[in-house]
Amino acid sequence: MSSATLAGLVGAALVGLGLYGVIADPQPLRKILAFNLIGSGVFLVFGIVARKGAAAGLSADPVPQGMVITGIVVAFAASALAVALTLRLFEETGRATLRPDAGTKPPDDGADAE
C-alpha cells in the first residue's frame, strides 16, 4: 500500500471520528474540535488526490494543494467565529450549550437530533 493510499484511509477515518464527535458530544468546544478533525480528513483526501496526480516532473498535482491551503484558512476563520460565539454564550448564560431556551422549540427534538 502506498503512503498516499494510507493517508487517504487515515483521512477517511478522521472524517468518521470527527463526525462522531460532532454528533455525540454536546459541548460546543468539543464539536469545534471535531469539525476540525473532519476538515483535516477532507483535506487529506485532497492530499492523496494530489499525490496520485503526480506528473510533469511534479511529485503532486498543485491544484488540489492550492485548494487545501485555501480550505485550511477558511476552516481557521470558521473555528474563530464558532469559538467567539461559544465564549459569548458562556459569558451571557454561564454555560455553553446549543440547546435553545425551552418554549422556542418543541421538546421532542433535543440535542440528540444534531
Binding site: 464539536k31 469539525f35 488540489p64 480550505g71 464558532a82 459569548r88 454564550l89 446549543l98 435553545p100 422556542t104
Partner: protein, 501 residues
C-alpha cells in the same frame, strides 16, 4: 481539448458576470474600512447598480437565447475558473436584486447610525454583511466551478450567521451557533464530495464534469455527500432543526433575507448538482428520496407551524414546509413533463422568496407596533394596521397556493406534472400542505381581523408597510408571468436534452 474550447468561447458581454460578485465584495471592504454611516450609504447606493447588472445579464441571455460564459484570468477550465449564467441564474439574480433593496429600505429605521455619526455595532455589521450576502448569492448563481462554489457557500455562512444574533440575546446566540454548526457540517461534506469528484475526473468545472460523469462508486458517494451537506444548509427535513430558532430570532430585515434568499442559495446548488453535473446518473431513486423528504418537510413543517405561539416562529416553520415543495420538482423534472416541473420548482423558489420576505417584514412591523408577536395577542391588530396585515395575507396566498399568486402557479405546475407523470402521491401531499397552510394562516388572520383594535405602542411607518406590501404584490404578480418567462427559464437547462433519452 477542442471540445473544451467550444464550451469556453467567451460570449459577448460575458465579462458582465464578474461584476455582480466583485461590486458588492468591494462594497463590503469599503463599508468596513470607512465605517459609521458610510456602510449604510454604500450598501443602499450599490443596490440599484446590482439590479442593473442583473437585468443586463438577463437581457443578454434573452437576446442570445444562450447561457453567458466568462473565463476568469484567461485560464480556461479545467485549470482555471469559469462563470456561467443560464435562465435560472438570471431570474434568481433579479429576484435577489429586488428583495435586497426592500430589506435595506425596511432596515433603515432599525439600523440607523446616530446623527453625530458615531459608529454603532449593529448598523455597521448589518450593512456590511447584507452586501456580503449579495456577493455570495451572486457567486452561487453564477459560479461554474465546484470549488469556487464551496468558497461561495462559506462566504454565505460567514455573512448570514452573525446576522442571526445581532441583538445579542442569549437565545439568539445559541441559535446562531447551531446555525453555524449545521452550515459548517454542510460545507465540509460538500467539500469532501468535491475532493472525490476531482480525484475521479481531474476537473471541477460543471460543464466538463457533466460530459465525463459515469455511474461509479466515487461519483455516487460524492453525490450523496454533497447533497447531504447542501440539504443541511437548505434545512430540508430532518435537517431543519437549526432554521426556526435562527430565522425567528434574527432582526426582521435579516429574517426576510435569510428565509427568502439564503436558503435558496444552497437549494440552487442542489439543482445545479443534479441537473447540470449529474444528469448522466440513473437518478430515479435519489430524486424520489429528495421528494419524499420534501413531502415530509411539507407535512411536518406545516403541522409544527400550526402549533407555534409566536408569529415569527410560525413563519419560520412555514419556511421549513415551503422548502419541501422545492424538492418535489426532482422526480418530475425528467421526462416529457420536465419543463413544467422545472418551471414549477423555480416558480416556487421565486414566489416563496417574495412572499416570505413580505411576511417577515410584516411580522417585524407587527412585533414593533404591538411590542410582542404572540399569536394569542393579535386580536383586532389587523384593524389597527391594515396595510401590514394585507401584506401578510397576500404573502400567505402564495404559501397556501391559492390564486392569484406565484405560489398558485408553482403548485399548479408541479401538480400538473405529477399527475401527468402518474406520480399522484406528490399531488396529494401538495393539497394537504395547502390545507395545513390555510390552517396556520387562519390562526393568525382570523383573530387579527375581528375583535377590538388594540392600543399600538407606535403605529408602523407607512413607507415600511409599503415595502412589505410591494414584496407581497410581487409574489402575487408572479401568477401572471407570461409564457415567454417560462421559455426564458429553459435557456441553458441541460435536462431538456435528457428528456429525450
Amino acid at each position: 481539448m477542442t471540445e473544451g474550447a467550444s464550451a469556453f468561447a467567451a460570449t459577448a458581454g460575458g465579462s458582465l458576470l464578474a461584476l455582480p460578485i466583485l461590486v458588492p465584495a468591494a462594497g463590503v471592504l469599503l463599508s468596513f474600512l470607512l465605517g459609521g454611516r458610510q456602510a449604510e450609504r454604500i450598501a443602499l447606493a450599490l443596490m440599484p447598480v446590482q439590479f442593473g447588472f442583473a437585468v443586463a445579464i438577463a437581457s443578454l441571455i434573452w437576446r442570445s437565447g444562450q447561457p453567458l460564459v466568462y473565463v476568469l484570468g484567461g485560464y480556461a477550465p479545467p485549470l482555471g475558473i469559469a462563470l456561467r449564467a443560464d435562465g435560472f441564474s438570471a431570474v434568481m439574480l433579479v429576484t435577489t436584486s429586488l428583495i435586497m433593496p426592500a430589506a435595506g429600505l425596511y432596515a433603515r429605521t432599525n439600523f440607523a447610525t446616530p446623527n453625530d455619526g458615531t459608529e454603532r455595532r449593529a448598523p455597521l455589521v448589518f450593512w456590511t454583511l447584507l452586501q456580503a450576502i449579495q456577493a455570495a448569492l451572486s457567486l452561487i448563481f453564477l459560479g461554474g466551478d465546484l470549488f469556487n462554489l464551496y468558497v461561495a457557500l462559506e462566504l454565505l455562512t460567514f455573512a448570514a450567521a452573525p446576522l442571526v444574533c445581532l441583538d445579542g440575546r442569549p437565545e439568539t446566540l445559541a441559535a446562531a451557533l447551531r446555525y453555524l454548526m449545521f452550515a459548517l457540517f454542510g460545507a465540509l461534506f460538500y467539500l469532501l464530495g468535491v475532493a472525490l469528484l476531482y480525484g475521479a475526473y481531474g476537473t471541477l468545472d460543471i460543464v466538463l464534469l457533466s460530459r465525463q460523469i459515469r455511474a461509479e462508486p466515487a461519483v455516487w458517494l460524492a453525490a450523496g455527500l454533497m447533497t447531504a451537506g447542501l440539504l443541511a444548509k437548505t434545512a430540508l427535513f430532518p435537517l431543519h432543526l437549526w432554521l426556526p430558532p435562527a430565522h425567528a430570532n434574527a432582526p426582521a430585515a435579516a429574517s426576510a433575507v435569510l428565509s427568502g434568499l439564503v436558503v435558496k442559495g444552497s437549494f440552487f446548488l442542489i439543482v445545479r448538482l443534479w441537473f447540470n453535473v449529474l444528469p448522466a446518473l440513473p437518478n430515479a431513486v435519489p430524486e424520489a428520496i429528495l421528494a419524499a423528504l420534501g413531502s415530509a418537510a411539507i407535512l411536518a413543517g406545516s403541522a409544527l407551524a400550526l402549533r407555534q405561539e409566536r408569529l415569527k416562529l410560525l413563519i419560520a416553520y412555514s419556511t421549513v414546509a415551503q422548502i419541501g415543495y422545492l424538492f418535489l420538482m426532482f422526480p418530475l423534472a425528467s421526462g416529457p413533463w420536465s419543463a413544467e416541473a422545472f418551471s414549477g420548482g423555480v416558480m416556487q423558489a421565486l414566489s416563496h422568496a417574495f412572499a416570505k420576505a413580505a411576511m417577515f417584514l410584516s411580522a417585524g412591523l407587527i412585533a414593533e407596533s404591538l411590542g410582542h408577536d404572540r399569536i394569542a395577542g393579535l386580536g383586532g391588530a389587523g384593524r389597527a394596521m391594515p396595510v401590514t396585515f394585507l401584506a401578510l395575507g397576500l404573502g400567505g396566498l402564495s404559501l397556501m397556493g391559492l390564486p392569484p399568486s406565484g405560489g398558485f402557479a408553482a403548485k399548479w405546475l408541479l401538480m400538473k406534472a405529477s399527475i401527468e407523470a402518474g406520480q399522484w402521491v406528490w399531488a396529494v401531499v401538495m393539497l394537504a400542505g395547502g390545507l395545513l397552510a390555510g390552517g396556520y394562516l387562519y390562526r393568525v388572520l382570523a383573530p387579527a381581523l375581528s375583535g377590538n383594535r388594540p392600543q399600538l405602542k407606535s403605529p408602523p411607518r407607512r413607507s415600511r408597510e409599503n415595502v412589505a406590501l410591494a414584496l407581497a404584490l410581487a409574489a402575487v404578480l408572479l401568477a401572471f408571468a407570461p409564457p415567454t418567462f417560462f421559455a426564458f427559464l429553459q435557456i441553458g437547462r441541460p435536462a431538456a436534452g435528457a428528456a429525450l433519452r
